[in-house]
């Protein structure tokens, strides 16, 4: 019997047929040219790039087939911890598609950009109010670039004080996001790892032994990556400031504290926002996001340029004349389209809505913590913030691990939680399962998740094989991910033909 290739599993390059077309150009309205002559002998490529040739229907159908192979917030509960997969309002995308945005060229005359600069100016204002910082820049393209910008600003600050050569260390808790140490290294700092207390909070006595004149700052995530609010933020800031060092707050988990407390009031000097987490910019299968930073007043002169400013006559301008600025971290104005969506979202939430978002995010996580704590070990069973970290300690007795639980969730049409983060050195070797429901999920959905998780706990004991072989209804199952790295095949061979 011959096997029939499933069109849904075929790559665009494989369906390509010479001569097939989707888009057509208008007839050329200027004289044709001889390429060699027109390009004055510049070397041409040997042959055209072998891009796929498809018709519009097959092109659309290809991506619709791929769409069906994806879980997404609009179709699935997506409690991927640390990523804040909240609902993305449709109005964001619809308004963003206005020609006023899609055809806004950065080199239009400034007079034509007034509404855009005003929007950026207003959004900076919103973020200043939420964070308590006197100054914000919208330029960083993502959280990690926000971190980078924050550390560059800190570095520039110390260089101006003549301490650039001596302030070489950044203290980072062992539970931090991987981007924190990676950023510190990229920014030329030595990282000093701070081991957390068993409950995930900062060990103040230990911190005191690590901070000194060599310390440029500390990067702290609050709430922590264990989903817990750090109770001693004020003391931590005091310890750093006593040595002249700066406190950087990773605002990835701002969803839990917006409208509750302003990070600047803790004594934080710099923090970044993740607009794709807290302010509903769609995650886009990995990006784009945006990572603005807020800073205390002594750091403002070092922020990237240009900065949107409001003039006395009510007009807006972009100010690039700032002599102490670190320069630019991204071309033009950052991920402006993402900023627009965050602005629309924040305008809808308003003062009350921002606070309610945090309250309900925290309410949902605690509800799951309490509802599931008999079946799954809660890493630190006290009031949590917007996410709760379970471990697989109970299931491990049946040789079922976080990975198996995650894969079994797929069978119930739920996107798995984040697994194995925080890393094993933080969770005493137990496999972490970090669940973040977000405020936009209803109680029914949370109850459904609770029922599913309880069922999985039961299956662990009664039929562990069911978990080991999960998922059961997906196009592919349990991939050879080692092979992906040891024998990488990174392109479709036809593309190089």
């Amino acid at each position: 019997m011959t096997t029939i290739a499933n069109p849904a599993d075929t790559l665009l390059f494989e369906t390509s047929v010479e001569g097939r077309r989707c888009l057509r150009l208008p007839e050329l309205d200027v004289p044709k040219v001889d390429l060699k002559q027109a390009l004055k002998g510049a070397k041409l490529r040997a042959k055209p790039a072998n891009l796929p040739e498809v018709g519009e229907l097959d092109l659309v159908r290809h991506f619709k087939n791929l769409a069906q192979k994806n879980f997404s917030v609009d179709r699935n509960f997506y409690p991927l911890g640390s990523c804040t997969m909240k609902y993305n309002p449709k109005i964001n995308v619809t308004l963003l598609c206005s020609p006023g945005f899609t055809r806004a060229h950065p080199h239009l005359p400034e007079a034509d950009l007034q509404g855009h600069i005003e929007l950026m100016y207003n959004l900076e204002g919103y973020l200043r109010e939420v964070s308590g910082f006197p100054a914000v820049t919208l330029q960083p393209a993502a959280g990690a670039q926000g971190e980078m910008t924050g550390l560059m600003v800190i570095k520039a600050y110390f260089e101006e004080k003549g301490e650039g050569k001596t302030r070489t260390e950044i203290v980072i808790p062992d539970s931090a996001h991987g981007t924190n140490p990676a950023t510190a290294a990229l920014a030329g700092f030595k990282t000093v790892t701070l081991k957390g207390k068993p409950d995930g909070s900062v060990d103040l006595e230990l911190l005191k032994t690590l901070v000194g004149p060599q310390t440029a700052g500390m990067m702290i995530t609050n709430p922590s990556t264990l989903g817990l609010l750090e109770p001693n933020m004020v003391e931590i800031a005091k310890i750093l400031h006593a040595h002249g060092a700066q406190l950087y707050m990773d605002g990835a988990n701002m969803n839990a504290i917006q409208g509750i407390v302003r990070p600047a009031d803790y004594g934080v000097d710099v923090m970044h926002f993740n607009l794709h987490k807290t302010y509903s910019v769609p995650h886009g299968a990995g990006g784009p996001g945006a990572g603005p930073i807020g800073v205390a007043s002594h750091l403002e002169p070092f922020l990237p340029v240009p900065r949107p400013v409001k003039n006395e006559d009510g007009t807006f301008s972009l100010d690039s004349k700032r002599s102490k600025s670190i320069g630019k971290v991204r071309s033009f104005f950052g991920n402006y389209g993402a900023l627009v969506m965050a602005y629309i979202y924040m305008s809808q939430l308003g003062r009350e809505g921002v606070r309610r978002a945090a309250e309900n995010a925290v309410l949902g996580a605690n509800y799951l913590r309490v509802k599931l704590r008999n079946e799954f070990k809660v890493f630190t069973d006290r009031v949590c913030a917007h996410e709760v970290v379970f471990t697989d300690a109970i299931q491990a007795k049946n040789d079922i691990h976080a990975l198996d639980v995650a894969k079994r969730l797929i069978d119930y049409n739920i996107h798995p939680m984040t697994i194995y983060f925080p890393q094993a050195n933080v969770t005493n070797g137990e496999g972490a399962m970090m669940v973040e429901p977000t405020e936009t999920e209803s109680k029914q959905t949370l109850d459904f998740f609770v029922d599913v998780m309880k069922k999985i706990a039961q299956e662990t004991k009664e039929n562990p094989q069911l978990l080991k072989e999960a998922p059961h209804n997906m196009p592919v199952v349990r991939l050879d991910e080692v092979r992906a790295s040891t024998q990488p095949q990174l392109y479709c061979p036809m593309c190089m033909a």
């Binding site: 950065p106 509800y367 991939l479």
Partner: protein
């Protein structure tokens, strides 16, 4: 409350299940004196929330205070280009929420849609650049160039352990935004950046470049077509760097040029980076779009960013998965090749759809039209008294520099024309010079109107010197 579905009754039920009395009790770890008091409206002064109707009106009000490329005959590029974007792109990338509301494909079984398009995207970047490995996207062209520098430094540290290679050469006319971003990254990484200026023909001064390429240099980057629109002689640059063995980074902000021009691989480049906006991404004041990043296979393990590989599942079926995560920050932490996490996947998806929608022959035709229109515009503008082509003898693709007179913008704007970008801020001696950009969107009628308006604006002005 907007987007929160639970009712007050449900909230009470949940609080009672948790065993606390009020929502306030969930924030015991926040010191009472720091908690925002909602009754005190002098603090935390966000405006009240608005419904969909009000917000739509507000945004429309802001947009009424703007104009866009559609309102003009528009002749500016300089890194972002006014291309046509097919409706198919928006329908798949924005209106089908299966991609836009998903995240990084950590769980491959329920993310094959994303992983497959990333693999196809990588394949199309390989097709364009001729290089064997491409990642799944960077933030933009500028930060991709900065990351290429960082990667070059990492390669150098391995390759020339005993040599002190700490210099990055920016050869020729680079986009000033790219240069600024590169310098910002270099400053904190302790890398020395050296510029080698363009010569009288708009191409990098080869004699100066040869002198600059010492054994201190770990990599040299060239933008082609460069910021002045001129296509560089890549073979000459490749030959010049051979002696110092520096790595060769190719960069462009108009990847449509790769449809026709010698590929980075053919030119001998180790790394190719550039701006992805011209490939199916809207202008959005310059972002979000994406940066593409490709390299020779030997550099794979030093590459930044996510990479997808074909593999098989446990039944032997073809499948796609994230590969080589041990380079990345969530595994390697301070030893990672880059700190990038969130990238620009959706913009990369747009590029893939755009490239497939034009297809092999359509993409070439698109580039050919661009060349023809650019040639027409050059002839038309150069024929005006008082206008000269600054690099008349050098090859260009979609942009070129004219010498006219300073301060012509307002006169052109009155005729609904946004003329070329004034270059006086770009360097000394560029007063009265403009960088003119052409795309498939530009019509003959617009070019003619630009030429007429320019001729009129120049009447009575002193003749151009170039």
């Amino acid at each position: 409350m907007p987007f929160i579905q639970n009712t007050e009754a449900e909230r009470r039920e949940m609080l009672s299940a948790i065993g606390v009395k009020s929502l306030e009790d969930l924030f015991v770890d926040v010191p009472a004196n720091l908690r925002i008091n909602m009754a005190d409206t002098s603090k935390f002064k966000l405006p009240a929330g608005q419904g969909e109707l009000e917000v739509t009106r507000h945004i429309e009000g802001l947009l009424a205070k703007t104009k866009n490329t559609g309102d003009y005959a528009f002749f500016r590029g300089g890194g972002i280009y006014n291309h046509f974007v097919s409706t198919v792109v928006d329908h798949i990338a924005l209106f089908d929420s299966s991609f836009i509301t998903a995240y990084t494909p950590y769980q491959p079984e329920c993310s094959q849609g994303t992983l497959t398009f990333m693999f196809e995207f990588q394949s199309s970047i390989c097709a364009l650049t001729g290089l064997e490995v491409a990642n799944a996207s960077m933030y933009d062209g500028a930060s991709a160039l900065a990351e290429a520098m960082m990667m070059g430094k990492h390669v150098a540290e391995d390759k020339w352990r005993k040599e002190d290679r700490n210099t990055f050469v920016l050869a020729g006319a680079h986009n000033p935004d790219y240069e600024q971003v590169v310098r910002t990254y270099a400053d904190v990484a302790g890398i020395k950046v050296v510029n080698v200026a363009a010569g009288a023909d708009g191409r990098v001064d080869m004699e100066a470049l040869k002198k600059a390429l010492t054994r201190k240099v770990f990599a040299v980057a060239i933008q082609s077509p460069n910021y002045l629109g001129v296509i560089e002689d890549l073979d000459a640059i490749n030959a010049a760097r051979k002696e110092s063995e520096s790595l060769f980074v190719h960069c462009t902000s108009e990847p449509l040029s790769l449809a026709l021009l010698q590929t980075p691989a053919e030119a001998g480049a180790d790394i190719a980076v550039g701006e992805g906006q011209p490939l199916g991404n809207h202008q959005f004041l310059g972002g979000p779009a994406f940066g593409y990043f490709a390299a020779r296979k030997e550099h794979l393990r030093k590459m930044p960013g996510r990479i997808v590989s074909e593999t098989v599942d446990k039944n032997g079926k073809r499948a796609f998965a994230l590969a080589l995560a041990t380079r990345e920050q969530h595994i390697r932490r301070e030893k990672a090749t880059s700190n990038i996490c969130t990238n620009q996947s959706l913009c990369a998806l747009r590029a893939l759809i755009h490239l497939a929608a034009w297809g092999k022959n359509g993409f070439v035709e698109l580039a050919e039209h661009t060349v023809a229109k650019t040639q027409y515009a050059m002839k038309k503008l150069a024929a005006i008294e008082g206008v000269k082509l600054v690099y008349a003898d050098s090859p260009v693709f979609n942009e070129f520099v004219i010498q006219a007179a300073p301060g012509l913008e307002k006169k052109l704007l009155k005729k609904k024309i946004v003329g070329g970008l004034a270059l006086d801020k770009y360097g000394k001696g560029r007063r009265g010079q403009y960088l003119v950009a052409i795309t498939e969107v530009t019509t003959k009628a617009q070019i003619d109107a630009y030429a007429d308006a320019l001729a009129e604006a120049l009447k009575g002005k002193p003749a151009a010197v170039a």
